[in-house]
């Protein structure tokens, strides 16, 4: 694994902890790509034919595919390995965080002393049920567990966890989606110069930080419901010397003024919220957007556009990786949801961009300035994929 960009809150693993994290990352990637790569063959060569023999037709939706696939020994083995690999990621990091405490919390507190940005906490904000119902993507303690005054442990766990999960393919700053989006927007809409940018569900700020680089004149804000990740995000941004304004807020009910942002975005946030919450967040995005502003949400690909097998593969996490809202999200018609929220249909837009770290500069630029850019394959973080986003301009 390539080294993660150092900052004052990043925990230095011991010799053996680093060896373990590197291995777990390689093992997950092997399971995902080498074993997972055989799933389509399993489906086509035996699962689908036996379904057809029994029912006289092919499976018509992802649920039928899932029931048939999960009875197949190869798919069971792959699933069992995927589940264990995900659990092993967190296990490989936890001891280093416990060892770094309580010093880690003190470091976060000192980084917040003379800030370039800011952090505003609101004790009235509650962690919503859709976040608290189960530990999302099997992360022990979820996003928000707070074990001591000033605790940042869950931020540290998430920061390193995402890095090990992606095997470092998210770049040294773990910001591949945010950086790809920021650079894509800059190339595609050269006249769009946002003065105020907002990120909803920022966790430790991986994907909003690149906006500070790409739009240096913009004032960058980010919100989350979890205090430990906000504290960590604040310390991390300060450590990098990047001004970022963090707020403890729920995207469903923000305290920002009407028409106060030029760009409102999120990165993989919606699939961790309920359908009701999504509706509320969209209404709030529209409220806080200035006329002529852009709302854009980077998310998982739509399963509606896929064949039932690909939809089954994408939604596997919903059932087996504690992503209870994954499937509800991937099956939502976003364009209709945006129109329901008040956006005009003709102002709907999509982003399809290659990963900025995975392709040469000219390929990236061509994709951003080209008329259309279709994803060549579907996948999960860590595979070579296109990032997808759904957005709308606010009229005016």
């Amino acid at each position: 694994m390539a080294p993660q960009a150092p900052h004052d809150l990043l925990i230095e693993p011991t010799h053996d902890e680093f060896a373990l994290q590197s291995y777990v990352s390689a093992l997950r990637m092997f399971t995902l790509q080498e074993i997972g790569g055989g799933l389509r063959g399993v489906y086509e060569s035996r699962v689908k034919p036996s379904f057809e023999q029994e029912r006289g037709r092919a499976p018509t939706d992802e649920h039928e595919v899932r029931h048939a696939m999960m009875a197949d020994p190869y798919c069971r083995t792959w699933s069992s390995m995927m589940r264990s690999a995900q659990e092993m990621i967190w296990d490989s990091i936890i001891p280093s965080i416990e060892r770094a405490q309580p010093d880690l919390n003190s470091r976060a507190a000192s980084l917040a002393q003379k800030p370039k940005g800011s952090m505003t906490l609101d004790p009235d904000v509650e962690v919503p049920r859709y976040v608290s119902a189960s530990d999302i993507h099997l992360m022990p303690g979820n996003y928000y567990s707070e074990r001591d005054a000033g605790d940042v442990s869950q931020g540290a766990l998430y920061d390193r966890g995402v890095y090990v999960y992606a095997g470092g393919h998210g770049g040294p700053y773990g910001d591949s989606i945010g950086r790809s989006l920021a650079q894509h927007l800059k190339i595609r809409f050269p006249d769009f110069q946002p003065e105020r940018v907002l990120d909803i569900g920022c966790t430790v700020g991986h994907n909003i930080l690149p906006f500070v680089d790409v739009y240096p004149d913009a004032e960058v804000h980010a919100i989350d419901v979890s205090v430990p990740v906000l504290r960590y995000a604040h310390g991390r941004a300060e450590s990098f010397g990047k001004p970022m304004h963090l707020h403890q807020m729920n995207g469903e009910n923000m305290s920002f003024e009407d028409e106060s942002f030029d760009l409102v975005m999120s990165v993989v946030t919606f699939h961790e919220t309920s359908r009701t919450a999504m509706k509320n967040i969209l209404a709030e995005c529209r409220r806080v957007l200035k006329p002529g502003g852009l709302m854009i949400h980077m998310e998982l690909p739509r399963t509606a556009d896929m064949d039932p097998f690909d939809a089954f593969y994408i939604d596997w996490d919903s059932y087996y990786n504690n992503e209870p809202f994954y499937q509800a999200f991937t099956s939502t018609d976003l364009k209709a949801a945006y129109v329901d929220a008040g956006f005009k249909e003709e102002n709907y837009m999509e982003v399809m961009t290659p990963d900025i770290y995975a392709v040469p500069e000219d390929t990236f630029e061509a994709a951003a300035s080209g008329p259309e850019n279709k994803a060549e394959r579907y996948g999960r973080l860590g595979e070579s994929i296109h990032w997808t986003g759904w957005g709308a301009w606010k009229e005016g």
Partner: protein, 117 residues
């Protein structure tokens, strides 16, 4: 402020059993954990060998302080991937059989075509 912060290494939510007997899922988890311990041990031996090559002697602190540079890490990663590939041969080979099955379809189709001509 308490002196110790402990993170309970268990996630909330029911753990699915993928096999009819959940003990098989547990065994899979144990095998994967064991494979990780062996890999860590291999890296440690590799560190010892590299330090001995360079200095002819070593201390425990030398081992703990050693961090692979990108070249060493790439080398180790290649070894890790070969190791994983050998360890999970039985599953990997099943995938290769499926590919062979596809190839057989191609072969049969070609034979049919040739028979017609």
């Amino acid at each position: 402020m308490s002196d110790e912060i402990k993170i309970t290494p268990v996630n909330r939510g029911k753990r699915p059993a993928f096999f009819d007997d959940p003990a098989i899922d547990q065994l899979m988890a144990i095998v994967m954990a064991m494979s990780a311990e062996m890999s860590v041990l291999y890296d440690r031996v590799d560190t010892i060998e590299r330090l001995l090559d360079k200095k002819g002697t070593l201390s425990r602190d030398d081992i703990e302080a050693f961090r692979p540079d990108q070249g060493v890490e790439d080398e180790r990663n290649g070894r890790r991937n070969d190791y994983i590939s050998r360890l999970f041969r039985i599953i990997r080979e099943e995938r290769e059989t499926l590919v062979a099955h596809d190839k057989m379809d191609e072969y049969n189709a070609l034979m049919d075509e040739l028979a017609k001509s």
